[in-house]
């Protein structure tokens, strides 16, 4: 395959998929690489998206399927980049394909195997709230819909192998190396969540009813571990009062990151509306410092949440969250600026909005690609004003959250931008070659 006609996209979230589709639609070949067994990324974990309240998987699934079906896109899931050499127009990439222990050609995704697997582990896709088996798909709409055996937890009982009618289970599968020759590389590795346990005052990790936002998102999702019912994890009770705490670990000079994750104020608002929709009797409070409502439609979204849905905004970050060990109810202390008094509030459930940090694995990837990283793990762009998508390595481009905090529409637009730059660089390389 001519190098200057194919692109490697690292990261199968919404940004990676958008960049891949743009390139594929115009006739270029794309290798879409994703380290987990399925593409979809964070957006697949969301229930609804702000400010339109679109069902997330509903608008995402067609893109995922498009990536699967597109004749110009080759999905490389459960893969990682091991080595990159060469230069713009002609990169050589060594990819490690991790063994699923399933023959992808034979697996039909029927799920019989998982019925029989005796091992249950916390489901990463559900942020550990739900369970999955050692043989699993991360989500029901996984693309590709192929099962994977989690080597670490598998006890090799081989029940799955005996059950599988397609004879797809292959415990002898070995890691594979794939060599690619591409003209450009796009990095779209997305975000992880700041470890909220580091903010000990909020009790995350110790108190059952203190959740982080992505966990809550899974609770409220129709396809999540509780089928969309908001319940407390301590006792299964329906909460009557829920509090959101913003900026956990972000905008922080110590014990966190200094930047603003740019999406939490609005996604908390979204989750608050979802709660009020599901249960109009449940009180919802959002404790914030500055409400970041700068995006298109954000202010109007928050106004609606406040005026029509009765979400209450309190400008105070709680000092601490304390748990009643018997009831597992939570008490928060905060300063009420309207009454000028410090008071406490008893709530049934606390949702923390931790900082969204660039994917931890970026560090390793940066060294493989030769890219500069800043102190937080964002890839450095060539020029923060006029070249936000280019990097210090010509031919390698960044987009999405890996470039900087942003929401979905900005990720999508920037991903298209990376596709444009990749195409431009390859057009240049092609014309040089022709000369």
């Amino acid at each position: 395959m001519e190098a200057n006609k194919s692109v490697l996209v690292i990261g199968g979230g919404i940004a990676g998929m958008q960049a891949s589709l743009d390139l594929a639609d115009r006739g270029l070949k794309v290798f879409l690489l994703e380290k987990t067994p399925s593409i979809g990324g964070r957006m697949a974990q969301l229930d609804k998206t702000f400010p339109t309240m679109d069902c997330s998987i509903c608008i995402l699934a067609p893109k995922m399927i498009e990536c699967l079906r597109h004749p110009n896109i080759t999905l490389l899931t459960y893969c990682e980049v091991q080595d990159v050499s060469g230069s713009a127009g002609n990169f050589t990439v060594k990819v490690l394909k991790k063994p699923r222990f399933i023959d992808e050609e034979k697996c039909t995704g029927c799920g019989e195997c998982a019925q029989y697997c005796p091992i249950e582990v916390p489901n990463e896709f559900d942020m550990g709230i739900g369970i999955r088996k050692a043989i699993y798909v991360p989500l029901p709409q996984a693309v590709p819909l192929k099962y994977t055996i989690d080597e670490e937890n598998c006890i090799k009982c081989r029940l799955c192998q005996r059950t599988c009618k397609a004879e797809a289970v292959d415990f002898d599968q070995k890691p594979e190396t794939i060599n690619l020759n591409v003209g450009a590389i796009i990095v779209a590795t997305g975000f992880d969540m700041f470890d909220a346990r580091k903010r000990r005052e909020y009790g995350y990790g110790r108190y059952r009813n203190v959740l982080i936002s992505l966990e809550f998102e899974r609770l409220v999702s129709a396809s999540g571990p509780t089928g969309g019912h908001i319940v407390r994890l301590s006792d299964g009770r329906v909460p009557r009062r829920i509090a959101f705490i913003q900026c956990v670990g972000s905008r922080s000079l110590k014990g966190g990151v200094t930047f603003c994750s740019s999406a939490c104020c609005v996604y908390a608002t979204k989750e608050a509306i979802l709660i009020r929709e599901h249960d109009p009797e449940c009180e919802v409070y959002i404790f914030y410092n500055e409400l970041k409502i700068f995006g298109k439609g954000f202010q109007e979204f928050v106004t609606r949440a406040r005026d029509e849905w009765g979400v209450k905004y309190i400008r105070a970050l709680p000092g601490e969250v304390v748990e009643d060990p018997k009831t597992h109810d939570l008490t928060m202390w905060y300063e009420d600026t309207t009454e000028n008094v410090t008071k406490n509030m008893k709530v049934d459930l606390v949702v923390l909005c931790p900082a969204l940090i660039p994917t931890v694995a970026n560090k390793e990837l940066a060294s493989i690609l030769g890219l500069d990283l800043d102190e937080y793990g964002f890839f450095e762009c060539k020029d923060p004003l006029f070249k936000p998508i280019d990097t210090n390595v010509p031919g390698i481009f960044i987009c999405g959250y890996s470039q900087g905090p942003k929401d979905i529409p900005e990720s999508v637009a920037q991903a298209s931008g990376a596709a444009a730059r990749a195409a431009e660089v390859m057009a240049l390389a092609a014309s040089r070659e022709a000369q």
Partner: protein
Amino acid sequence: MKRVEEETPRIGVFICHCGINIGGIVNVPEVVEYAKTLAGVVYAEDNLYTCSSVGISKIKEGIAKHNLNRVIVASCTPRTHEPLFRGACEEAGVNKYLFEMANIRDQCSWAHMHEPEKATEKAKDLVRMAVAKSRLLKSLEEPEIDVTPSALVIGGGISGMTTALCLAGQGFKVYIVEKEPELGGMLRHLYKLYPTMQDASERLNHIVNSVKSDKGIEVLTSTVVKQVKGFIGNFEVTVQKANGGTANFGVGTIIVATGAPIFEPVGMYGYGEYDNVITQLQLEQLLKDGQLKKPKSVIMIQCVGAREKEGRTYCSRICCMTAIKNAMLIKDLYPDTDVHILFRQLQTYGEHYEEHYRTAQDKGVKFIKYLQEKPPEVISGKNGKLTVNVHHALLDEELKFGSDLVVLSTPLIQHEDAKKLSQILKVPLGSDGFFFEAHVKLRPIDFATDGIYVCGTAHSPKDTPESVSQALGVASRAAIPMALKRLRTEAITAVVNENLCSGCGTCLKLCPYGAIEKDEKGVARVTEVVCKGCGVCAATCPERAIEMRHFTSEQVMAQALAALGRAVK
């Protein structure tokens, strides 16, 4: 592809639960059973997520197993998923125009969440309506058209120039039409740019020179777009130059990068009345020209004419950072000057802006939050000195500041002539006045109209790197049709039954695109690639000689009668 007109319809109905979005309200199994009773339906099933790869496979399997020649999916709105399901049908050998959807989510379960029985009845009606139309559907072929590999960029600011350079870099010809006498847009008026504090002019000149020297880009300054005819791949553009002359050229795609001016807050906080109440833009000019005399106390007021209860309800995103930037510049010039920024919600988002906030704090800039209900007051005193009263939200106290310079941070607004441009291009403006994209989340820089795109502040307020990202994004979106060189166009076009046409010419007069002419025989003829499928002709033709494919009178009527419980035939 099967030719199905001669066959009896064999309709397959696939009803989606969409998790609990539909299934939690509508009794989906009941609707499935109902669908089976409808004439023409030979197969019906339900799926958890029809749009998932499982669901798509089930559609294809259903087609093959039951020899279906019509497919209906009852799920969400066709406006998102129709292409996906159509694709599945085509892959299974069923022409995509034999596919129909029933919107039982966005227009049923979601709107009637607290009336599940009625929602179920409505869902049954909607399925029956879809089946009624489905029986009458015909397979259609999409004509292919050539795509002119050139683009029109309307607006020569940073967004327009960035997209032009990238498109030219990919080998396409680009026309930049700029109404001002020079390129550069808003950046010409700015002094320093955050977060790097680089000089705007310096960087701008560099880019302008790149544009001017690029052989693939034709720059037309002092020029406006007068008329646009045609469709994706084949737009005919007429522009008007300052001297009154016009020029015509053809392009394949159009990009709107018209930017946004700032709101002039006449009458607010003394603006227009007092000389020392100015806007941030005017402040930039003063700083740029070195004309700022040392003020004793500068008060900056945020959200002037923005985030209002009605009208300009939006946040203009960049004003907080602009204020902080200018505050820091003032402090660098005159460290003794007091600078206060009166804000409502401080928008220091993203990776670097929090740092700037802190740097500003380090430099001694003070920040005071005020509430929307209790805005500051600017009162004029002796010798032009101003007094600013502000209710401090946190302290719950009235504060008074003497000031010799009040700077108002006002929002970016849409150009006055944007309405005209939106009508010329037939693209919409949102309720905030800015151009309205095809889909807020997943198609943020496309318009619903094929071949036209938007980027920069024409879309919504944003700063330079954000505009550049969108501009590059648009360069990819527009490149797709141009790189392919040929496109399949819609098959939903008008068609004339020559035997019925009496040549009365009514349709010719009505067509907004001039897509209909009379041929040698005096009978109407439709130029399909120009026809946009609106159907005005079909609704007026006295003889019903001209019909709209896929929305024929028979089909629409069948849906209407089915809505009322009457089956046709």
